[in-house]
């Protein structure tokens, strides 16, 4: 019976993301000489925490995001999603996590250049059991002021437009964690504010956590914790 409760508790508990003495191999020499709030420490992020990680240039910001999302594995230490060491995940399991639990906005956006803005978003919407209706894409595009470029190939959109498309793409799927790498780097203050509001709404709706990295301090979200990389 106790086991059943434990199992049930685990089920309703949001997924944690934990780092155990993680040090990226390419940065090893450099990191040993400086103090970091993230690297080489034991940290547990628990959803729905909203985490800000301020990262000066060259401290391995993108490396951190990519490692966290299991796109690179050239680090020592252990990164876990829930109880699972992410290096032990098979390709199929990884896909399930990325479809259901973790969404991402890359610094380099990574849109399909030949698909339209709309198709780029739609693709992530239909990749798994549909979470929100198709109309929601148009609503979000309107909220961020990009509805007019929705049917242009992504390659012909400006970087600022692409950034907003990438944000909307991240918000059309179910997730417990939203990981973002400098998501507002090419947006002016007003547009960044609109995008942050949309993101905050989506995360609250899902009771999801945020991990965001940026070069500077900001007050886009009501952060529960802040780290310096």
């Amino acid at each position: 019976m106790a086991g059943l409760f434990l199992w049930f508790e685990k089920l309703i508990q949001a997924m944690t993301i934990s780092l155990h003495e993680v040090v990226p191999v390419p940065l090893k020499e450099k990191l040993l000489q400086q103090v970091s709030g993230i690297w080489n420490s034991d940290i547990v992020f628990t959803a729905p925490e909203w985490i800000k990680i301020k990262a000066p240039s060259g401290t391995g910001k993108t490396t951190f995001i990519h490692s966290l999302y299991k796109m690179r594995t050239d680090y020592t230490g252990i990164i876990k999603w829930g109880e699972r060491d992410i290096n032990s995940l098979a390709a199929e399991e990884l896909a399930v996590y990325r479809q259901q639990k973790i969404s991402v906005v890359f610094q380099d956006l990574r849109l399909f250049p030949n698909l339209t803005a709309f198709e780029n978003i739609e693709l992530n919407r239909v990749l798994q059991t549909v979470y929100c209706e198709k109309e929601r894409i148009t609503e979000m595009a309107q909220a961020l002021g990009v509805e007019h470029i929705m049917h242009q190939p992504a390659v012909r959109c400006s970087y600022g437009e692409q950034q907003r498309v990438a944000i909307i793409r991240a918000l059309v799927q179910p997730f417990e964690w939203l990981i973002m790498d400098e998501p507002f780097s090419h947006l002016d203050k007003t547009n960044a504010g609109k995008a942050a509001a949309l993101i905050a709404e989506a995360c609250k709706e899902r009771n999801a956590g945020i991990i965001i990295t940026d070069l500077h301090d900001d007050d886009h979200f009501a952060y529960s914790r802040k780290f310096i990389l």
Binding site: A91, E92, R110, N114, L123, L127
Partner: protein, 397 residues
């Protein structure tokens, strides 16, 4: 799922190797037609062999004896070892020994209206080798009646030759079966033992006057002289009298059988050659076609490597992508195989029509084996495609 497939189709273009694809399609089609034709040809031939035609009742049983030459006169018996050797050959299903009578015998009419008398000798074979099935085929020591089976050919000779030249009435098989006559058995001292006899059936299989085995054993013991007990003739049951191995064996051992029954061996060699050439060519072409197809799939995947990488990064599962790619490539294979089957169906029907004109009857439909072969190849190609796709997609990014 539909929406996803539309988007994937935009991302993963399969147009990269149209010419290769066309080559693979043409190669696969020809290969399929060749292989299926070979299988169909073989099964048609098997059907001709084991079909339910009349020819069969004689074709599957061969009476074998030594070839009589100047040198082996009076020495035509088959030894135990020789019989065993024949029995152990792969083409032999069963061997039966033809026992001949070692006593003098005659038959004569028991009716004064239709007088005849002739000296005679009998043979017997195990019942399982007989093509006459009658309850009257039974004898024991208390019985004074001997059932006799005669070759159908004998009656034909009487009806169409003898009776005409002698002004005698023609007799149907049923009439002959009603005529009782007297069978006389003579012992060494000339003593006579008479019994009643009657023809109970006609055999197209063994050209000899046959009596039940039990009667033969008894009579040989009672009246047999000390002549040679070893048999001179045996009867074998075989699946295929046209088997070239059988013909070769008989020739090697100086044995003879009815040439007419083994004439299929020549046809069979031709059929085998055609089947082999067509089958081997088809298999080689199939291998090449599958190879080209494999290369085509690899080319498609590698030309969309970046897209596939990003799809996986965004959370597309390798399974989703494999399933999508299978749906792009596999249906063409299914269509090819169905079309090839349809073509072979047509060819079979044509062959049926043409051969029927020559009194050779094959099925107008293709055999189960052809369909199974097609299914097997379909599964094989599907598996190769699937493994190929999985191998090139199952990465994590």
């Amino acid at each position: 799922m539909k929406g996803l497939n539309i988007l994937l189709r935009k991302l993963i273009k399969t147009g990269a190797g149209r010419i290769r694809f066309a080559m693979a399609i043409v190669g696969l089609s020809i290969a399929m037609i060749l292989i299926l034709s070979a299988v169909q040809l073989q099964s048609n031939y098997n059907e001709l062999l084991s079909g339910s035609g009349n020819r069969d009742s004689i074709a599957n049983f061969l009476v074998v004896n030594k070839i009589l030459t100047d040198r082996n006169l009076k020495n035509t018996t088959l030894s135990e070892a020789e019989i065993q050797d024949i029995g152990s050959q792969s083409f032999t299903d069963a061997v039966g020994i033809l026992h001949s009578s070692r006593f003098k015998a005659s038959i004569q009419s028991s009716s004064a209206q239709f007088p005849f008398y002739t000296d005679i000798a009998f043979e017997s074979v195990p019942d399982s080798f007989l093509d006459v099935n009658t309850k009257e085929w039974y004898w024991d020591e208390s019985s004074n009646f001997v059932p006799i089976i005669v070759p159908g050919m004998f009656l034909d000779i009487y009806n169409f030759q003898f009776s005409l030249s002698q002004g005698l009435p023609q007799l149907t098989r049923d009439v002959v079966k009603m005529i009782f006559f007297q069978v006389n058995l003579y012992d060494e001292n000339g003593g006579v033992h008479s019994m009643r006899g009657r023809v109970v059936g006609f055999s197209d299989r063994v050209s000899s006057l046959l009596v039940p085995q039990s009667f033969m054993d008894w009579a040989n013991q009672q009246y047999g002289t000390t002549g040679n007990k070893a048999p001179s003739r045996i009867i074998i049951r075989t699946k295929d009298p046209g088997n070239p191995d059988l013909v070769r064996y008989l020739k090697e051992k100086n044995l003879a059988t009815d040439q007419d029954k083994t004439r299929f061996s020549r046809y069979r060699q031709v059929v085998e050659m055609v089947v082999n050439i067509s089958g081997v060519t088809g298999l080689l072409m199939l291998l090449f076609a599958v190879l080209i197809f494999t290369l085509f799939i690899q080319l498609t995947i590698s030309s969309c490597k970046e897209e596939i990488k990003l799809l996986l990064t965004l959370g597309a599962s390798p399974k989703q992508l494999s399933r999508f790619l299978m749906r792009q490539f596999f249906p063409s294979n299914i269509i090819i195989i169905i079309l090839s089957l349809a073509i072979v169906c047509m060819l079979q029907y044509l062959a049926y029509r043409v051969l029927a004109g020559q009194q050779i009857y094959i099925s107008p439909y293709i055999s189960m084996f052809s369909v199974l072969t097609a299914l097997f190849i379909l599964i094989f190609i599907g598996l190769v495609n699937f493994i190929n796709i999985r191998k090139h997609i199952n990465y994590t990014y």
